[in-house]
Symmetry: D2
Subunit: 293 residues, 4 copies
Amino acid sequence: MSSPTIHGIIGYTITPFSADGTRVDLDALGHSIDRLIDSGVHAIAPLGSTGEGAYLSDAEWDEVSAYSIKKVANRVPTIVSVSDLTTAKAVRRARFAEEHGADVVMVLPTSYWKLSEAEILAHYAAIGGSIGVPIMLYNNPATSGTDMSVDLILRILKHVDNVTMVKESTGDIQRMHQLQRLSDVPFYNGCNPLALEAFAAGAQGWCTAAPNLIPQLNLDLYQAVLANDLDKARQLFYRQLPLLDFILKGGLPATIKAGLRMTGLEAGDPRLPVFPLDEPGRQQLSELLVTLR
Amino acid sequence: MSSPTIHGIIGYTITPFSADGTRVDLDALGHSIDRLIDSGVHAIAPLGSTGEGAYLSDAEWDEVSAYSIKKVANRVPTIVSVSDLTTAKAVRRARFAEEHGADVVMVLPTSYWKLSEAEILAHYAAIGGSIGVPIMLYNNPATSGTDMSVDLILRILKHVDNVTMVKESTGDIQRMHQLQRLSDVPFYNGCNPLALEAFAAGAQGWCTAAPNLIPQLNLDLYQAVLANDLDKARQLFYRQLPLLDFILKGGLPATIKAGLRMTGLEAGDPRLPVFPLDEPGRQQLSELLVTLR
Amino acid sequence: MSSPTIHGIIGYTITPFSADGTRVDLDALGHSIDRLIDSGVHAIAPLGSTGEGAYLSDAEWDEVSAYSIKKVANRVPTIVSVSDLTTAKAVRRARFAEEHGADVVMVLPTSYWKLSEAEILAHYAAIGGSIGVPIMLYNNPATSGTDMSVDLILRILKHVDNVTMVKESTGDIQRMHQLQRLSDVPFYNGCNPLALEAFAAGAQGWCTAAPNLIPQLNLDLYQAVLANDLDKARQLFYRQLPLLDFILKGGLPATIKAGLRMTGLEAGDPRLPVFPLDEPGRQQLSELLVTLR
Amino acid sequence: MSSPTIHGIIGYTITPFSADGTRVDLDALGHSIDRLIDSGVHAIAPLGSTGEGAYLSDAEWDEVSAYSIKKVANRVPTIVSVSDLTTAKAVRRARFAEEHGADVVMVLPTSYWKLSEAEILAHYAAIGGSIGVPIMLYNNPATSGTDMSVDLILRILKHVDNVTMVKESTGDIQRMHQLQRLSDVPFYNGCNPLALEAFAAGAQGWCTAAPNLIPQLNLDLYQAVLANDLDKARQLFYRQLPLLDFILKGGLPATIKAGLRMTGLEAGDPRLPVFPLDEPGRQQLSELLVTLR
């Protein structure tokens, strides 16, 4: 399958809510997408972890999916997360995203009951068989409760033709080494504080919500790697690392929404039970952002 | 708050599906409830982990909830699991269950983004404040991704009046010791292979799907404990332990539905990506059931 | 092989040091052994974790081993821990203990480099083949760094004739269930706060340093289990649990030596880097001991 | 304190044994040291994990320590591991090494009983206070059973003047980030398959036994990093990674000794219970070494 060339900085969008939390604020979503694209990111990824995809009703998910793809309007590729607890609903979302123009869909095997390897493989096969666009396999046990070993990932790559990319978010660099050695499929880093080392190890791109706040630093790091300038990449990485650590520790929806508000884009709060960033956290974030400007 | 006396064997119901998996089979659900009550269980708990509550649409959840409560018809208390990823939806379910006559609601803090202790506490407080019936707090990090320490549980008990029972499913007996020593609130065991020791440690009851298959052995174990007959309890426990291990390892919806089918009650398969029990598993289960009759 | 009947409360001895920490105080050791036997324990176990066996020179180890066996003088069986990092030194210790009259030797596979299952099996086989007395296999990954699965333990039992007892100290009751179901070999509990449940699950004995401080409560718990009186056993267990938790958390050499000092037996301090119990700890221990008298 | 500039490739020596395993083969040790220095390593580190320091008698340890320092003869700095279970014995070894001319001593807090932070700090303070040469703090929970957090390491650096270097072997790159951000003290990588990323993150050196087998590749990787050539460093790293993974997985004493034998230097086998490399392992190692020449 010919696949769009996904590389570089892949910007994850938040899902803005109205002040009372009951509605999606599409207007704010549009602004956030424009800001990301104008800043230079190489792809847009709606409805991921940052986008609170798991916290939306089906109707809201459809609304955000269709609107995001249309708003991006092929300025850069769009990668839509279509994860759902049941295979049937994940298939429905994947088809919906493809029909509305997504370039790639991303699939995280969320779970309540622990899944066997055969169940995970069948889940990917069912989704892959129902669409024509490529799939970015996404491994993130911290949120999904399902950890896919590199061996399992390689089996899925072999059995499901349109799984053509891997996003690894365990933060375990040894898994990236294995992917690099054992497969031709490009891998992407989803762990912010691993950005430098993942590129050193050969990652094709960095899936991150950080460009909502510090796009230039993210892009500069990638450029330094492309320019084979390790010293500069290291310097740029350590400059942004305090912010990367902060948004990981504070939770992406809470910290990114707070940071957007500080930069003039009102995107509401995360949905409860997830709290918005508290006052000490906002103070700290504000200081971090000032330092990085 | 005066609370119904929940004790003994609390039977968890499966949620039967039609052959094509798209509809709930209420008729089969009714039969399974009658069988449990006729066998002598002391309470009925619909929509828990066994009941695939997480895999149902909102409409299906409402349907199963209302039907189950009505079918039980106060023959024994009904404990309805109302867990949901967002606080708003969990509150809605809790109110729905109360309005339809549930005696108790059970709350597991499911998560995508890891929750802080303050977020978990606020989640329970919001649900507790919106209903008048008691809440059974449910800790099961293996499925929910959220582990509540005993300290946190004690704080929730202190701050939310109608949290009056604790179901502990980590399988860590030391947590039950702490609950017994540090609180007057009754605790219940949700880990099947810990049944003997949890009773030894003072558990008020055993939350289990096993009575769908071997009710008499489950009830006899409880009776032996009440009769202070440790030797008999040990003997009864080891007799049923192979089955308890089997249903835990094989997954409750898959193994219980397969077992019900063997005993003449067709309840369909679990929803994908969860697989039904495979042929070697069915063979093993069949042999276990024969041995126990 | 005919094996001495090891059962009940197996009392672990500390190794007393002189005030400056450089010498073993054999006189104090003799007193502590007499106290344990006079209190009614069913066996004596020198040089275990409590006995700081790992912190002694070879000459000190020999001295303590020979003295302890002679002092016990067959009033009860003696179980000598002979663990060492190398197989050669463990064999030497096992032979030494046998020659000096030990009834049983206990072997924990300590490690620096992680051991494979084949290496652990060969270690037991080498020791077993060099002596004629029975071996109590000891699993305690928290101190040894080596965790032996039940499967591995069963393989060792099958291949090494004189491994005829298993001491399980992981605190995982499910392992005891497996040992009970899959083997005729008696198992012993080495995790103090699991005392009640281990007996409920069928443990033949309790390996513990607690009888240095509260022998009657330990013995009463065992008697209640023998008398099939679960209610009484539960009551006795919860009565002593705060002390059992305290000595586990505070470290056995530090807490037992502090407690002995409070009861008039000066046994010195643990060897550095292990600290003696600090003042708040001594205060807490003192209060616990008062409560239990 | 003025500290020798330790940087680059720090080569770890094995401890050769006679064919029957009972004696140290000093002659072979001397050859292995000469080979390492002739190949260009920047420092020599005897008696570490690779050197089976934990498996030696005190007399053997002294013999190897004194001989190694004398043999190196200041051609490069010598870093002697002086770890021992008791503080008293570790102090003795540290003094011995200093008296015999070691430039640096390395200290790993090995444990049987888990150590508190205060105990670990006091252990380092006692050793530091008894010698005049600098200490390289060594964190390796996989072998020592003691994990030192970055916070604890920073406290030790602050309180013990001559702890002036940190060797981190958890394989967790985030700890190196913290050390780089929060301290001026140089850190060294002790996890072979993390070599590329540790240098990318700013490690001053790589502590490794690999130069016994593939010194030029190790040195070339370091040179590429110094030359700011990330692409070349990545290429060199992936070339040697299969061997690095192999020696980590197979255990350093077993694999390095087998590899030395293949290259004409007989160094005996590891001490039991550690097995020498088995035939399939030797075959695999031989193929890896052929590929890398």
